[in-house]
């Protein structure tokens, strides 16, 4: 199995370079916000291990919201973020990128502060690769290659299968055997390929196991302290929850339009949002702790096609910025924005509250999980207002949604199964 990893290169822009960079980024697109996979600057399509990638200017329209607490808005730099999700180690991906797209990447990063045109590109990118506080992968181990090959398999089989009622289980078995023979022949002829899974790297396995053990251990050690402090923590939480200001005005019409211009050009969409934490150490620690737990859950529990009840997110990540004063959230999801938000509210409103209620201005929560995102209109205004346009977005398998990936995977598994009962053979045929 090939584990997935991610990179998040974040660097502040040099003064006066924003306009030029925006223009440059636009040249990489074939439609607004949609990367041309073969663009000359950074031909994403040439990198076969790259699932998703984006280049986004992290302008934050909500910096002034801290005024609600009587603080002056901080000076925050305008960052450029280059993010991606890939098969295998991110380091290898970045090395690959810096080798095969060196000129383009240099041209992009030349807009950043302190970029040394003569220095080593890879070293610079690694130095700016920001740690991710929590990361989610829809299906750990499913590689781009696998996705593409299984999609080709599905198309061929679905065109080939004979669509008529089968009189018996034996007929279903025969139909399946026929398709297996057919696929073998196609493979021989070089028209289809189904690469066997790669060996799971032992380093990754060990790291995963260590994480599996260490986090609960640390929790166990901290537990007595937490129990003692609990009443006080609850008091801190509740006093804040009842007094923290809600800041959910309507987003500006032009800002909303700029976001929508980029959306719904594929069956999947991107989402990037940014915002400040509520001031004070309490929220900072609470969010840090919760993100450790979410990351843990994503690593060990939600690794097979779902994040709690949500089955439409390909990849997602939470990243702290500016010494944990701000957070960025980025995701790739299936369907339209409205459907995404409704899923959020109706399926994981509690989970959203857990994390985002530590963000400045979030609709009022009760006991950390109730209310908040369920206050539909405030929530919808809030998330749109914190969303920022993603200038360049790449997806390696346009047209395919997670429901496709999952079904295609089941088709392939069924094809490679030694033996099936009659009922299983029929169920398998019904997938086609």
């Amino acid at each position: 199995m090939t584990p997935q990893s991610h990179f998040t290169v974040v660097a502040p822009l040099a003064a006066g370079r924003e306009g030029g960079l925006r223009e440059l980024l636009d040249t990489m697109n074939s439609a607004p916000g949609m990367a041309d996979p073969g663009n000359a600057m950074l031909p994403f399509g040439a990198f076969e291990r790259l699932h998703f990638a984006r280049l986004v200017l992290l302008g934050d329209p909500t910096l002034a919201d801290v005024e609600a607490y009587g603080f002056r808005p901080p000076q925050a730099p305008l960052y450029l973020a280059f993010m991606g999700d890939c098969d295998g180690p991110a380091r290898r991906m970045l090395a690959d990128l810096s080798q095969r797209a060196e000129a383009g990447l240099r041209q992009i990063f030349a807009h950043c502060e302190g970029f040394d045109a003569h220095g080593d590109l890879l070293t610079w990118m690694l130095a700016h690769d920001t740690p991710v506080a929590a990361n989610y992968v829809n299906w750990v181990g499913r590689s781009v290659l696998q996705i593409r090959q299984e999609s080709a398999l599905q198309r061929v089989l679905s065109a080939k299968v004979v669509r008529r009622p089968l009189a018996s289980g034996a007929e279903a078995q025969a139909a399946r055997r026929g398709l297996i023979t057919f696929v073998e022949a196609e493979k021989q002829a070089g028209r289809l390929a189904l690469a066997p899974p790669e060996r799971t790297p032992s380093g990754w396995r060990i790291a995963k196991f260590a994480n599996l053990v260490i986090v609960p251990l640390a929790g166990l050690i901290a537990l007595p302290v937490l129990i003692v402090l609990l009443p006080w923590l609850v008091y801190l939480l509740r006093t804040r929850e009842t007094s923290d200001p809600e800041i959910c005005p309507r987003p500006q019409a032009e800002a909303l339009q700029a976001l929508q211009d980029l959306e719904d050009r594929d069956v999947s969409n991107q989402y990037t949002a940014i915002g400040s934490l509520k001031p004070g150490r309490f929220r900072r620690w609470l969010l840090s702790l919760l993100l450790v737990l979410v990351d843990y859950a994503c690593r060990h529990v939600f690794t097979r096609g779902r994040l709690a009840r949500v089955q439409t997110i390909h990849f997602a990540r939470w990243v702290f910025l500016d010494d944990k004063r701000r957070v960025m959230f980025a995701s790739n999801y299936d369907g339209g924005h409205q459907a995404y938000m409704d899923d959020f509210i109706n399926k994981v409103g509690w989970g959203l509250n857990l994390l985002f209620s530590n963000g400045l201005g979030w609709p009022r929560t009760r006991w950390l999980i109730l209310g908040g995102a369920r206050i539909e209109q405030s929530f919808k205004r809030y998330q749109r207002r914190h969303q920022i346009p993603t200038q360049v977005w790449y997806k390696a398998y346009p047209g395919l949604a997670l429901v496709d990936l999952k079904r295609n995977q089941r088709i392939r598994e069924g094809l490679e199964r030694e033996r099936m009962s009659d009922a299983q053979a029929l169920a398998w045929l019904r997938l086609l």
Binding site: L166, A175, R250, I345, N346, G399, A401
Partner: protein, 509 residues
């Protein structure tokens, strides 16, 4: 914003009758699309326009035969305004911006909306007969009449409007209501609105599908399914010194311009009736029974309206709407009786907030956290209760299927689709986009709504012109190469105001 009791009596004199009734007895109807040419004259007419209220069309309910029902009004007028209309009337920008974004920018307003609604290719707003650019109606006047009364009624109203308005178009409708142009019985399923406000205004999970919707899903100013109030313009009291407007339930010191109003979506959907039946005839190899079975599979009901999923229970073609609606798809998760992609299954999947499972808190927790693999397979579709539409459309062109098949090819036949709702984005746009136009609805692929689909391949080239009919004993039966049966000729978003709000708008400067 959370709901605040006390419960207020609903002012039926303030609500336009269309929210209560589809005017089934008023078989004649036409819809006037007007543009304001003289603001003062337009205001004067709006200030006094004879709008029919819910109270005027209410028949007393109950069994007391001694109470003579009030006779139905012979003629009815309902009135709605677009955001362009509000601007043309001179309503302040900050008031207009209190309405939903979709309403403010308009149906034709943006390429992203067109992509989502499937208004592309032959249905693109640039090609519309009305509803885009300079042809956006300012005011929509819906006229209904008992048989034989429409013509004089229409003349009267046109006479009254002449000074203030230009007529952009007058959309005619056919007199027979029960069958839509493809020949299916229509108007069977509607949400039941909780007019009595019996459902508490609370944010509670609903574990079973119910046809009862909170009042605030369809009427602005009341709590919706989340127990909250949908955004609408709330005005400082000094902007309404005459107290023309009702006060907001959730903000009692503010005047509620939305209260007792709703949004109205109008789309002119041209139907290629001959194309529909010719195609199905070909797919069925000329077998007429098979042709009808295919057609039923695409809608999810037989021509007579019997739902496929419950065909055995409600097989009586004369069954009442209630009988024809007493079903969900829970017993047919694979779509073996009613295909997953059938029009009525897409438009109203009849599911609950959580996929079905055993009772009990543990089971519920497991499903909430997404640990029940089987439940997850049934969890691809959003919870229905947030996405209901109150349909009020009328067909136009030939009155019967036989007539439209016999008529000249290309004769205009179709549906003036109308639906009402308090939240355009979450109701109409969501249903049209995610459920009808979406190619991945409930795990399907390479197909959108069998009747409404644009058939335009996805940007990556994947076709969308298929239709799958799941089979118990083999792979799905697949119809491919569906042509386009429905083309959008025009459309718009309107605000159907409460009558006090209408008078306020007519007077506001």
């Amino acid at each position: 914003m959370k709901a605040q009791t006390p419960m207020h009596e609903i002012d039926r004199d303030d609500i336009q009758g269309l929210l209560r009734s589809g005017y089934g007895h008023h078989t004649e109807a036409c819809f006037l699309l007007l543009r304001i040419k003289d603001r003062e004259a337009a205001r004067a007419w709006l200030a006094a326009a004879p709008v029919t209220s819910a109270a005027m069309v209410e028949r007393p309910v109950g069994t007391d035969a001694s109470i003579q029902p009030e006779p139905l009004p012979e003629t009815v007028l309902q009135l709605a305004l677009s955001s362009a209309g509000l601007r043309a009337l001179g309503i302040a920008d900050d008031v207009i911006e209190g309405f939903a974004e979709e309403f403010v920018s308009g149906m034709d307003g943006d390429a992203n909306r067109a992509r989502r609604l499937g208004d592309v290719g032959a249905s693109a707003p640039e090609r519309w007969q009305w509803g885009a650019g300079q042809r956006v109606p300012h005011v929509l006047v819906l006229l209904y009449a008992l048989p034989g009364h429409l013509d004089p009624w229409r003349r009267t109203i046109e006479q009254q409007c002449m000074a203030g308005f230009d007529t952009l178009a007058c959309l005619q409708t056919a007199d027979s209501l029960d069958r839509e142009p493809f020949g299916f019985r229509d108007g069977i399923s509607q949400p039941k609105i909780d007019w009595e406000r019996q459902r508490p205004a609370r944010d509670d999970a609903q574990l079973a599908y119910s046809n009862l919707s909170c009042l605030g899903e369809f009427v602005l100013g009341y709590p919706n399914e989340y127990g909250g109030y949908t955004d609408r313009p709330l005005l400082d009291a000094q902007r309404d010194t005459q107290a023309t407007l009702p006060r907001a339930e959730d903000a009692p010191d503010q005047a509620d311009l939305g209260r007792n109003g709703s949004y109205l979506v109008l789309r002119q959907l041209q139907q290629d009736v001959r194309g529909f039946w010719t195609f199905l005839d070909g797919a069925a190899g000329g077998d007429t029974d098979q042709r009808e079975r295919f057609a039923a599979a695409m809608v999810g009901r037989t021509l007579q309206g019997v739902p496929l999923v419950a065909a055995t229970k409600a097989s009586d073609a004369a069954a009442s709407s209630a009988d024809l609606n007493a079903f969900t798809y829970q017993s047919d998760p694979q779509g073996l009786r009613c295909p997953l992609g059938a029009h009525i299954r897409r438009a109203n999947p009849r599911n609950a907030d959580l996929p079905a499972g055993t009772r009990g808190i543990i089971s519920r927790l497991i499903r909430t956290l997404g640990f029940d693999e089987e439940a997850l397979q049934q969890d691809l579709v959003a919870s229905t209760r947030f996405h209901r539409l109150l349909r009020r459309g009328r067909k136009y062109g030939a009155a019967t299927l036989a007539e439209s098949l016999a008529g000249p090819p290309g004769a205009p036949v179709g549906l003036h689709f109308i639906c009402l709702g308090a939240n355009l984005a979450r109701q109409f746009e969501f249903v049209q986009d995610a459920w009808l136009t979406g190619t991945k609805f409930d795990g399907l692929t390479a197909e959108s709504d069998p009747q409404l689909g644009t058939r335009i391949p996805a940007p990556d080239g994947t076709p969308t012109d298929g239709y799958s009919i799941p089979q118990p004993d083999g792979s799905d039966r697949r119809i491919t190469g569906l042509p386009r049966f429905v083309t959008v000729l025009g459309g718009g978003y309107f605000f159907l105001p409460g009558i006090r709000a209408l008078r306020y708008l007519a007077a506001a400067h």
